[in-house]
Symmetry: C2
Subunit: 332 residues, 2 copies
């Protein structure tokens, strides 16, 4: 059983997996490499992945068989286990709990060759709807506090399968960075009674220097103090704490923006590996007045130096004004 | 001029370097690769590095010439500039300051072939004394708030020169993780009037499960909730907030422990790239009662997945009890 353990000094939760036996591991342990060749996410290979949780099947085909446009399946090698109780235990001054959580894979397309940004907008919109449906379902499980949605694209960004997919991890804790964002946003709200993200969006749209693209509902910016070169944040222009509150008027515009930004990166940065992480409100938090959901996209252009991992202190050689200008000037 | 910019939500400072012209950069920007061949840190090539700030020259040889045992020089491509005033400026709701700081390189040995852990203990002790001397000197500069000492060993850990060296960056801000450690340690102290690190050391030495090695002054442990496989922390067993307060009775023992731990990793993990970061009290903080300096050593065995960078939430497939046992069982 994996465990969630908390660092007692900085309150950082870490998943400690004790399941090495179930997956082929090297010693010293290495992150699993990209598997090539046989693909469990292609048509006809549905039985090689765990049974589907959700699928969009316009042709009415039976479950776990070809015909789908998008599928959600449990991760075959989950970081957390979905069955069991949250068992909170102290070990002297340390805190741990059983590693309960859901770990799912969103197979974004049956097309093995296309990256997400190469799919029609309608398919990207499907992914966003699938994220929403899975969030709505997992929120009913009282054990979960946060639903983390992210994508690793390309081996250097941590993908272990080529076929385009994103991932979801439902957690019994709230990750560190989400807690920090919530605390910062609350501090601003307590003082000003305004959403800090709305204030940032207004300032950025006013100056325009770090705006990459906007439409009637969304805006993409290079943040003022980015950790990584070409880091890009997509915000809804309207105030909303929760991704899952976006509806039929918003999600198609979000999908279009996501496609455009990823295509801009693809062209300007030579098809980079990338990650994105959905930042949305914790399941049970009453933060609707002051939090603002967004997508953070990070092309993986550089290796992190060790001291950056060790200190949380970053050196970025690409000023965001230059990154925004470069991405803005790409012809989409 | 580089800038220090603060993320207004999570209060994270980032160095934004605008000095791309001075260093050969690729586009898209990549972290500089390891330079091989000519070595500016070898005997006879002293003129290819900036003039030395400090050197240990047992033979009384002249500055910037062979004969030294250890040298400290300014980094030729500094992340921050040492000349100028801290100019704190607001940009609407954002905060920045000029990128003032010292960036120095500690050349640990004239021997191009040896890794730090392969040097005699006396040379490792030299490095620790050099860290202390540079801290003592830089503390006199009222612009600096934190002196960050770290080592990148091996290309995958961010080293750009093979010749064994460590680095120092004096900063006009306190890095994020240091602030988090200070806040956590203070919370514990306010409640219990004890140092949280002293409490952890006592508990770990009591159980022994995560202890790798100890001597009369230092102890090395696998932390309870490590972010990375085989992450190892070396603590002084006595309470001390500041590395620079360690004296002639302590530093030789610290050097011996550092050598032993790095040798254990070298043998058990097949000469891994690694980083270490010295965690010590900020220059001006009155935290002597509750902070406890230590060294954090992280062998670079896995690539960080993007969602770990994006969320600060880590999955570690090597439980620290297994890591400690593996390292403990290495014959040194």
């Amino acid at each position: 059983m994996p465990e969630l353990r908390k660092d007692p000094i900085v309150d950082r939760w870490v998943i400690i997996s004790t399941e090495r036996g179930k997956r082929p591991f090297d010693f010293p342990p290495a992150r699993p490499k990209m598997q090539r060749g046989f693909c469990p996410f292609c048509y006809g290979n549905e039985s090689k992945a765990p049974p589907e949780i959700l699928a969009y099947r316009p042709d009415g085909s039976p479950p776990n068989a070809p015909g789908w446009r998008l599928r959600v399946v449990p991760n075959k090698f989950p970081a957390l286990k979905v069955e069991g109780d949250i068992n909170r235990v102290g070990e002297g001054m340390f805190d741990k709990m059983s590693g309960i959580g859901a770990h799912e894979v969103i197979i974004e397309t049956p097309d093995h060759e296309s990256a997400l940004e190469q799919l029609p907008v309608r398919n990207i919109e499907d992914c966003l709807w699938a994220f929403q449906q899975r969030i709505a379902d997992l929120k009913k499980d009282s054990r979960f506090r946060y639903i983390l949605i992210f994508k690793n694209h390309g081996e250097a960004a941590g993908a272990t399968l080529e076929h385009s997919h994103s991932q979801l991890i439902a957690l019994p804790i709230v990750p560190d960075l989400a807690l920090q964002e919530l605390a910062g946003a609350k501090r601003h709200y307590d003082y000003k009674e305004r959403c800090i993200y709305c204030d940032i969006i207004a300032q950025e749209r006013g100056s325009g220097r770090r705006v990459i693209e906007e439409n009637d509902q969304f805006v993409a910016i290079s943040p003022y103090a980015p950790r990584f070169p070409f880091e890009t944040w997509i915000f809804p222009r309207y105030h909303a704490a929760r991704f899952e509150s976006s509806g039929v008027n918003q999600l198609p515009r979000c999908a279009q923006m996501l496609k455009n930004i990823l295509l801009r990166m693809r062209k300007a940065l030579n098809e980079p590996p990338y990650n994105f992480v959905l930042h949305t409100a914790p399941v049970k938090d009453n933060c609707d007045a002051y939090y603002h959901w967004h997508l953070e996209i990070m092309p993986k252009l550089t290796e992190m130096a060790g001291f950056e991992q060790g200190t949380g202190f970053y050196i970025n050689y690409t000023p965001p004004e230059e990154a925004a200008e470069t991405l803005r000037n790409v012809r989409t």
